[in-house]
Amino acid sequence: MTPGAAQRPAADSQDTPPAPGTGTPPAIDITGLRVRLGGREVLRGVSLALAPGARVAVVGPNGAGKTTLLRAAAGLVRPRAGAVRFHGGAAGAAAASFGFLGHRPHVYPYLTARENLAFAARLYGLADAQQRIDASLHTVGLAADAERLPREYSRGMLQRLGLAAALLPEPAVVLLDEPDASLDRAGLRGLPAMLDALAPGAAVLFSTHDEHVARSLNARVVHMRRGRLDAPPAAAPAVEPAAAANPPARPRRGFAAAAAVLIAKDLRVEWRAREQAPTMLVFALLAALVFDMAFIAVLHTEAAAVAAGVLWASLVLAATLGGVRLFASEHDRGTLDGLLVAPIDPSSIYAAKLAVLTLETAFVGLVQLGFVSLLLNVPLLQGVTVGAVLLASAGMSAVVALQSALVVNARAREVLLPLLALPLSFPILLAGVGLTLGALQVTPDAAQGPWFGLLAAAGGVSLSLGVVLYPFAART
């Protein structure tokens, strides 16, 4: 044990007044936490307090509830009862002042290590980010691999990068779910130094299977079994901690600023991975061919009417397809958790996803205008139709993005999403077809105003619903 570590204040036990003698509120104060997941009581009244600077390892078998305890502490899981407070603040209000490393590191495989950290820095609104990023990369041993994409990394390297990203804002409270997972021997040896360097003086609550890891980090061990902490060890006399002062809560980033950071990240990821837009485009073109063939009997006599139908049906289907992976990819990668614990308005996550899907759908729609014009020899490329495609792309994306967030935890979500998104897309489809028929003079006395009104109204209602309701859908 290093001398510095010997001075580390101990975790306070259950029923022990927080940080006795110091008068400082505990860095983490968990009281009577009960969580039910999948119809099972996973946490059954967990109480635990950590003084500023203390380190506590939660050790227990699989299924004991360690991960849920950390997720609940991070605010990612809603407790049925009990509360989590940081530095004596209101329960759940201090989202800004902790770092969280989940079961899967919050790393984007198509952003380089440096870009991943730069994204975290922008999300948290950090000043002097460049210096900190360089130092972090050096500390976790990834300086030489900083410009590589994490998709080429080993599991251990991903874990190091995840740790660097979680600790980049130098949080005063750190929550780590098995930080030793996948680390090689050198990584394990270096873990204490990484923590000391990246989050000096922070209170650290972490889970592990390995008590050696707990000892190497000079952490007090508490055992967890079936959702309860075993009788916690007697509290050691508290020592005045070096960094006991209450850290100021980090201000929340503004809605627009956060959304802009997220949009820039998503566009960069899409540019590199090309997972969404090209697939949506090819699907839309293919759907146009399918519809053309289906209506082959009337293609010559009713080309304009078929063109309007083909354009909008394929566009609605393409937007729905784009929605399938919109939230699912972040969810499956674990990065959605990283966004939800960041000091941003959750609605900005929805707004960013919506904006990106709008751009992709609009791109597909504009190409489709040209493609269907060529296929059916009708003049679809007009101001009205271009305007309709742009407005409808936003409206459809608003519908699809909310439903995409809703089905993220569902079985067979790929099948379910169209079921939920299509019924709400009908007004947009109808208005789009109406406008296009008017532009092609299929309906001679067409007044375009009401159709644009319907498009705007449908989009506006969907957008408002999404912004208001997404935060409710986001947390489990």
């Binding site: 909310l402 019924p423 409710f472």
Partner: protein, 248 residues
């Protein structure tokens, strides 16, 4: 099973819900009002001049449609209250009401199709009222699918509540579709001025609406009780499981 239950503290056991006076009164009212509505539909109300007997479907079609609107409104209310208060009973209300609403919408569509076959000569018309009603039916079928596809109860309740609020936008679209678009569907004959129907028909229709409302309330209560029983059973199972593990 019995032994395991014996360990459960008494307060953990579900409160027995007996068939009390309230239930008896409700069922009596249902029997009475439905009986009267059937009598009035087939005997009291006169035959219609043009449509003859088939118009009597109206006394099922219109109340089902209205009750479907009410049921989906209750889904939205239950969903808002669940998100605001977090009490599970609000979610049970929304779920039960959605199931009944889908049933009433199905009844509306089926009776409408039968009526249409006789009056228009076709089962289905691409008419705004019909189409928007079908879309509403799909929307709430989707709501029930979402509930079926999310395994975690707390995630399911939250997701369903969000959808229960978003889905209700389809209700005013159906309601106003005959105003907004040229429609073949008969226009409201009670609420619109000058659209009057003979007194006997109006009384029969109103009584049918009353009987269907009692039917809705009885179903709602029954479905919510069933849901409560199911959740209490799973809670008891969990307690038994815990005790078994503690005993080990």
């Amino acid at each position: 099973m019995r032994e395991a239950l014996a360990h459960i503290p008494h307060r953990e056991l579900p409160s027995g819900r007996r068939f009390g006076l309230g239930s008896a009164a409700m069922y009596a009212l249902l029997l009475l009002s439905m009986g009267l509505a059937i009598f009035m539909t087939f005997v009291y109300a006169p035959a219609e001049r043009v449509q003859a007997e088939v118009y009597r479907l109206l006394f099922v079609h219109v109340p089902s449609a209205w009750l479907a609107f009410l049921a989906f409104g209750v889904v939205a209310l239950g969903s808002v209250m669940y998100l605001a208060r977090g009490r599970q009973r609000w979610d049970r209300l929304a779920h039960a009401s959605a199931e009944i609403g889908v049933m009433f919408t199905t009844l509306t569509l089926v009776t409408g199709a039968i009526w249409g076959r006789n009056v228009w000569g076709v089962w289905w018309q691409w008419d705004p009222r019909l189409t928007t009603t079908l879309i509403m039916w799909f929307m709430y079928t989707g709501y029930l699918s979402l509930r079926a596809y999310v395994d975690d109860p707390s995630i399911r309740r939250r997701a369903a509540s969000v959808l229960g609020i978003a889905a209700v936008v389809t209700v005013p679209i159906v309601w106003f579709s005959v105003e907004w678009w040229r429609s073949l569907h008969p226009r409201p004959s009670i609420t619109s001025p000058g659209g009057g129907m003979p007194g006997e028909m109006l009384v029969t229709l109103l009584l049918s609406v009353g009987a269907f409302t009692v039917f809705y309330l009885v179903l709602l209560r029954q479905r919510m009780t069933l849901e409560l029983a199911a959740s209490e059973v799973s809670r008891l199972r969990e307690i038994m499981q815990d005790q078994r593990e503690d005993d080990r």
